[in-house]
C-alpha cells in the first residue's frame, strides 16, 4: 500500500491544498457514516480520535466529544474494528494520547492500527524526546507517526521535528488547546513558513481553524489544514452525515480557491 506521506505528497505536488477533517471515533452510533461522508466530500485524509479520559490538549468541544464516545463504550479495539469494516478510499490517521498508545505496548498498538488499515498516527503528548520507541514501532508497522510543531518551537528543534516526523508535520497554529476561534491565529502563517523552510514534507496547520475562510487563509502558507472542533461541534449538535459532509464540501471549495504554491515557493 502506498504510504500516507507518498499519497499526501502526490496530491500536494499536483497543486491541491489538502484537507484533513477530524472525527472522534465512536462519538455516535453512525460515526462511520460520517467518516464515509467526509471521505466523499473531498477529504484527503481523515483524523480519527480514539477518545481518552483526560485529553489535556483539547478544548471543551473535543473533551465533550471524547466523554460522549467513552460513555457510549468506545474502545480502541472497537474503533479499529469499525475502521476495518468501513474501508474508505481516504487514508485514516489515528490520534490519541500516550496512555492509550502505550497501554499494551507501542508495538502491539501500531500493528493493530496497520491491521485496521490505518496509515498515520498522532500522539500529542509524545514529543520528540519521548517518541523514539513509538516511532520505531510505527515504522515497523508501516504507520507514519506525525509529530507536532508549535509557534514556540525554536529553529533547531523545528528542523529535528520535521526530520523525524513521518507522513506530514502537524503545525499547531497557536499556543492553546483545540477549539474554534473567531479568527486564524496570527502565529499560524509564520509557523507554516518556518516549517516549509526546513522540510519538503507536507505541512498541515491545525487548531482553531473553524471556517472555510480561515481554512483558505491557513492554506496560503501551509500544504493543508486540519479541522476538528468546528466539525465536532456540528456533530454534537446533531448534524447528520449529509450536513457534516456539506461543511467539509464548503472547506474543500474554499481550499480549491487558494492558488497552489509555485515551484519556487516549494521547500523554500
Amino acid at each position: 500500500m502506498t504510504s500516507l506521506e507518498t499519497r499526501l505528497r502526490l496530491r500536494r505536488d499536483r497543486g491541491r491544498k489538502l484537507l484533513m477533517p477530524y472525527l472522534t471515533g465512536g462519538v455516535t452510533p453512525d460515526w462511520t457514516d460520517h467518516l464515509r461522508a467526509l471521505a466523499d466530500a473531498g477529504a484527503d485524509a481523515i483524523e480519527v480520535g480514539i477518545p481518552f479520559s483526560d485529553p489535556t490538549l483539547d478544548g471543551v468541544t473535543i473533551q465533550e466529544a471524547s466523554d460522549v464516545a467513552l460513555c457510549r463504550g468506545a474502545t480502541t479495539a472497537g474503533i479499529l474494528a469499525d475502521l476495518s469494516r468501513s474501508r474508505i478510499d481516504v487514508p485514516v490517521v489515528v490520534s490519541t494520547y500516550a496512555n492509550l498508545a502505550l497501554r499494551r505496548g507501542a508495538d502491539r498498538f501500531c500493528r493493530a492500527l496497520a491491521d485496521a488499515g490505518v496509515q498515520g498516527l498522532i500522539v500529542p503528548d509524545l514529543p520528540l524526546e519521548e517518541a523514539g520507541s513509538t516511532g520505531a514501532a510505527a515504522r515497523a508497522a508501516n504507520v507514519d507517526l506525525a509529530l507536532l510543531a508549535s509557534p514556540a518551537t525554536p529553529a533547531r528543534r523545528l528542523r529535528d521535528i520535521a526530520e523525524r516526523s513521518r507522513g506530514f508535520v502537524y503545525a499547531v497554529s497557536l499556543m492553546g488547546t483545540t477549539g474554534e476561534r473567531n479568527q486564524l491565529a496570527a502565529s499560524a502563517a509564520g509557523l507554516a513558513r518556518r516549517l516549509r523552510g526546513v522540510t519538503d514534507r507536507p505541512v498541515f496547520l491545525g487548531f482553531g481553524i473553524s471556517t472555510p475562510a480561515q481554512a483558505a487563509a491557513a492554506a496560503r502558507d501551509a500544504d493543508g489544514v486540519i479541522v476538528g472542533a468546528a466539525l465536532m461541534r456540528r456533530l454534537l449538535d446533531g448534524a447528520d452525515p449529509a450536513s457534516t459532509a456539506g461543511f467539509v464540501r464548503s472547506l474543500r471549495a474554499a481550499l480549491d480557491g487558494v492558488p497552489a504554491r509555485t515551484a519556487a515557493d516549494a521547500g523554500g
Binding site: 514529543p127 524526546e129 519521548e130 514556540a152
Partner: protein
C-alpha cells in the same frame, strides 16, 4: 539528581527519568516552557544568593524549622516511639509552603508576571496564593468543583489572599481534572505565567524540583531525630502519599539510611499500591486505569489524596523495593485524626491522618514491632477538614 537514572541504557539519554518513570510527556507547545523552568531552576539551585533568599523566607516567614514532636501519650498507647514532623505548624498550615516559596522565587527570577496552580484540598492553592501575595504576583488556582464544595474554607482563604479560584467541571471534578485544566491554561500563557505545580508530579523538571524543595522536611527531621532518638535514626519513616510531595521530602532525608520508608495512600486513590504503568499529566508512572487505559477516578475523604497516580520517584522507589506503599481507608484516617486530637491535642489534616492510621494499625505487629521508632510526617493541619470531622463524629461517635 542522584536518583535519576536512564530508563533504558540503549535509549537516548532522557532527562528527568526515575528509572522507567518520569520524563516529559507534554505536547510540543509546552516543551520550551518546561525547558525554561528546568534551566532556570538548575541555575537558581546552584546560586548561593537564591538559596539564601529561600532560606531567609523559610525561617523568617514560613516558620522553619518545624518542630519534631514526640507523641508521648500515643507512643505509650501504641507501644512504639512516634515522632511527629510538624509541617502543620508551617505557615499556611502545611508543607506546601516549602515548595511554593521556592517556585515563586524562581518565577520572579524568571521574570514571570503571574502564577498558576492546581489544588485538591486547597492547601497548595492557599500556599500559592500566599506566596503570590508576598511577592506581588497575581495567582490563578484551578480546583475541581467537587473540591470547591467540600473545601469551602480554603476556597475563601485563597480569595481572601487575592487569588482567583477557577472551578473545574470536567471529569471527576477533583485534583486530576484541576491539573488537566491548569495544563490546558498554561499552554496559552507560557510567556507571562509560571505554572507552580503542587506535588512531585508533572513533566520534568517538576518532580525533581518539588522533591528538592521539599527535602527540607527530611533534612530537618534527620537532624532532629539524631538529637531525640538514642539510635539516631528512626526505624520507620511514614508519610501520606497523594502525588507524594511530603513523602518525597521526608524520604529524601532518609533514603541513604537503614530506615524503612512507608508511603500511605488513600484506599480510593492508591496509584503506587494498585496502579499500573501509564502516562498522564506529563509523566510516566503508576496510575489507576481500566483495561483500556482510561484513567480511573480516585475517591477519598482526603481531597489532597484524591489523585489516581503517584509521583515518578515514588514509582521508582517501589520498583527498587526501597519504599513500600500501603493504603488506609477513609474510616481509618478519620478515626486516626480523632485519636491524635484527643491523645496529643493536635488535629491533623485527613491526608496526614492516613499516615497515622497505618501506624495505629501496624503498631505491635511485625510491620511495626513494639519498641520500634517511627517518624510520621504530619503534613498539614485539620482546620480545613472540620466539616468532614463534624459529620464523622456526628454519625459515628456522638458526644
Amino acid at each position: 539528581m542522584e536518583a535519576l537514572a536512564l530508563r533504558d541504557p540503549t535509549a537516548a539519554p532522557v532527562a528527568g527519568r526515575f528509572g522507567r518513570h518520569g520524563g516529559r510527556f507534554v505536547p510540543e507547545p509546552l516543551i520550551p516552557a518546561c525547558e525554561e523552568v528546568e534551566v532556570a531552576f538548575a541555575e537558581a539551585w546552584a546560586d548561593a544568593g537564591f538559596r539564601a533568599d529561600l532560606a531567609w523566607l523559610l525561617s523568617r516567614y514560613a516558620g522553619r524549622p518545624t518542630p519534631l514532636t514526640p507523641a508521648l501519650r500515643l507512643s505509650t498507647e501504641l507501644g512504639v516511639t512516634v515522632l511527629l514532623k510538624r509541617e502543620d505548624l508551617a505557615h499556611t498550615g502545611s508543607h506546601k509552603i516549602n515548595n511554593v516559596l521556592g517556585q515563586a522565587l524562581l518565577a520572579r527570577r524568571m521574570g514571570k508576571r503571574r502564577l498558576l496552580a492546581e489544588t485538591g484540598a486547597g492547601m497548595h492553592g492557599v500556599a500559592t496564593a500566599t506566596a503570590g501575595a508576598l511577592l506581588g504576583l497575581p495567582v490563578t488556582v484551578f480546583m475541581g468543583e467537587r473540591d470547591v464544595e467540600r473545601q469551602a474554607h480554603n476556597v475563601f482563604r485563597m480569595r481572601l489572599l487575592g487569588a482567583q479560584v477557577v472551578p473545574v467541571r470536567s471529569g471527576s471534578r477533583t485534583l486530576k481534572d484541576a491539573t488537566s485544566e491548569a495544563m490546558r491554561h498554561w499552554v496559552s500563557v507560557t510567556e507571562e505565567a509560571y505554572y507552580c505545580v503542587g506535588s512531585v508530579i508533572g513533566p520534568h523538571p517538576y518532580p525533581w524540583m518539588v522533591r528538592q524543595l521539599q527535602a527540607v522536611i527530611g533534612q530537618e527531621a534527620r537532624h532532629q531525630c539524631a538529637e531525640q532518638l538514642p539510635a539516631g535514626t528512626p526505624e520507620h519513616v511514614v508519610a501520606c502519599v497523594g502525588g507524594g510531595s511530603n513523602a518525597a521530602g521526608a524520604f529524601a532525608g532518609f533514603v541513604d539510611t537503614s530506615a524503612r520508608l512507608v508511603g500511605v495512600e488513600a484506599a480510593g486513590g492508591a496509584g503506587a499500591a494498585r496502579g499500573e504503568i501509564g502516562v498522564l499529566h506529563g509523566f510516566q508512572s503508576l496510575f489507576l486505569q481500566d483495561e483500556q487505559g482510561q484513567i480511573r477516578e480516585a475517591r477519598s475523604a482526603a481531597a489532597g489524596l484524591d489523585y489516581p497516580g503517584v509521583g515518578p520517584e515514588h514509582a521508582h522507589l517501589r520498583d527498587l523495593g526501597r519504599a513500600e506503599y500501603v493504603t488506609a481507608t477513609d474510616e481509618e484516617a478519620l478515626a486516626a485524626a480523632v485519636r491524635l486530637a484527643r491523645a496529643e491535642g493536635i488535629v491533623p489534616a485527613i491526608e496526614s491522618a492516613h499516615a497515622l492510621a497505618w501506624v495505629i494499625r501496624a503498631a505491635g505487629t511485625t510491620e511495626l514491632p513494639t519498641g520500634s521508632s517511627v517518624l510520621v510526617t504530619l503534613s498539614g493541619r485539620g482546620d480545613k477538614d472540620i466539616a468532614t470531622l463534624m459529620t464523622y463524629l456526628g454519625d459515628g461517635e456522638a458526644e
